[in-house]
Amino acid sequence: MAAPAFDRRRVNGPEESFPPVFEEDREVKKISKRTDRENGDFRPVFLQPGLITQANGSAYIETSKTKISCAIYGPHQSKNAAYSENGRLNVEVKYAPYSCHRRKAPIRDAEDRTIGVAIHQALLSSVRLELLPKSTIDIFIIIIESDGLEASIAAGSIAASTALADAGIELFGLVTSCSAFNEAQALMDDNDLWIDPTLEEAQAAKGTLILSTMPALETVTSVWQNGRMQPADVLKCMELCQQRCVQMHAIVARSLVDNNQVEPSE
């Protein structure tokens, strides 16, 4: 690993440091079958809009080990940008240094941007940007704990869409997102398709797919497929994800309604 650049704006540690090596990890890791949920189920979701007081809208999502906080600032005037008829979405994703098994040095790397682009794609067609000329909506996302890229993108998209709704920004519909994967050899004998991979499962999978939809309009906003997957499996994955997205939509809608009913009594 290249030594991280010395940054005098932070308290610095030694020039080089390495994550500890464990005796136990020398044996090849075996991935156990799921015991806490069915193959076709996503992890339990906790979603709370409006925790960040100064943001125009915000949401916190927790799906067992994935913990993501999202805030919306704006819409505000686009600065240093050419005139544009439509508003812009600016998605910035940041990993907390302690969010992964290996410490993330506080520099933006490729992974942050990958997630940012994926979430941007998932949300873009849901926001009524034609109503916001010359404006920018900032979507800031912090991954407090990560359990795989797929889960982060899916949960991040849901949190961002919830936060947009919480901010009162006009949307065509709420975006929900779900991931699926196929054939992790170590895991299964049958060619099953599974929903919502954890980090270990995603690493063992041959191919993964993330589907983002607006269930209220029955439209797909983004499909992101990686790795090897038969075309027939892709379609089957999409169908499975679509069903889960509809369930997720009910959860998101419920959390927004609950959040708005509490407020007047305060």
């Binding site: 932070r10 030694p14 464990f22 136990e24 925790l51 302690y98």
Partner: protein, 290 residues
């Protein structure tokens, strides 16, 4: 348009929403006068008594990827802290000492005041003061982090992230860092002379030996005479002076810092210290660290 409709309806028939809007506009345009009117009534804008503190809650160990973690809330201010332990070679001039690397991140998510990018000046100052508070009190003996003199030692990266900025981030972060450090368990590490590598085992692990648990108490002085404990985001820019008192767990003072000195009454500093000690007693009696 809004003002036309309110003037038509007359001052007696204003809806609560219209009054709230007027107050918000007044707060935005004349923050100082807004605050003065509250102080004249003996109350703070968030409904506290002048000398009251906000509720503190500490939650530990919720982040499984960190070796120790804590979430601290002071009112609406929320700080998450995670400790990651890594291995490194000790410095040549200190072969028996490990490393403690505390940093605070104030990301764009926590307040419109911050933009994405490198650490702001505020974050740099906070990180430095936190480093000072942790090292000067001797919270951790760096010798305890040594695995093999001159060969291997632990590096504790103590990274705090502010999720919601509503003032008094320093107190919240110090509390979060201490709570996270208290939550750390380090695996047993052994240095293999033959291979020159350090190997750890999950079978045995031990908590850190914390020698001191410093707690910080921050006050703002408004208008030269009013002492506001635990200032909020709205109050902070209006304060003439900010005083931070860091106390060790036996109540002795570790450090006092005062920023901005104009128009401070002679005894303000000692009053802050007395109030900090009283609050310290109260926090200790409630066992804030779970």
């Amino acid at each position: 348009m809004a003002s036309a409709s309110t003037s038509n309806s007359g001052s007696n028939e204003q809806t609560p929403e219209a009054i709230a809007l007027k107050a918000a506009v007044f707060q935005r345009l004349h923050p100082r006068v807004y605050l003065e009117r509250f102080v004249a009534e003996g109350i703070r804008p968030d409904g506290r008594q002048i000398s009251a503190w906000r509720d503190v809650s500490v939650n530990v160990g919720s982040i499984s990827t960190a070796d120790g973690s804590a979430l601290v809330r002071i009112g609406d201010t929320t700080v998450v802290c995670g400790v990651k332990a890594e291995l490194a070679e000790p410095e040549l001039d200190a072969p028996t000492r490990g490393f403690l690397v505390p940093n605070l991140d104030l990301p764009a998510i926590c307040s419109p005041k911050f933009k994405p990018g490198p650490p702001t000046e505020e974050a740099q100052v906070f990180s430095d003061r936190l480093h000072e508070a942790l090292t000067s009190t001797g919270t951790i003996s760096l010798e305890d982090l040594c695995i093999q003199p001159g060969k291997a030692a632990w590096v504790l990266f103590v990274d705090a992230t502010c999720i919601n900025y509503d003032g008094n981030v320093f107190d919240a972060t110090l509390l979060a860092m201490i709570a996270a450090l208290k939550n750390v368990t380090l695996p047993k590490a052994t240095f293999d002379e033959d291979t020159g590598r350090t190997v750890c085992t999950r079978k045995e692990s031990a908590p850190l030996n914390l020698k001191c648990l410093p707690i910080s108490f921050t006050f703002g002085i408004f208008d030269g005479k009013h002492i506001f404990p635990d200032p909020t985001f709205f109050e902070e820019p209006l304060l003439d002076t900010a005083v931070s008192v860091v106390l060790k767990e036996d109540g002795t003072i570790s450090s006092v810092s005062q920023v901005g000195a104009d128009a401070v009454e002679q005894d303000a500093l000692s009053r802050c210290i007395v109030e900090a000690k009283a609050r310290h007693q109260l926090l200790l009696s409630k066992t804030i660290y779970p």
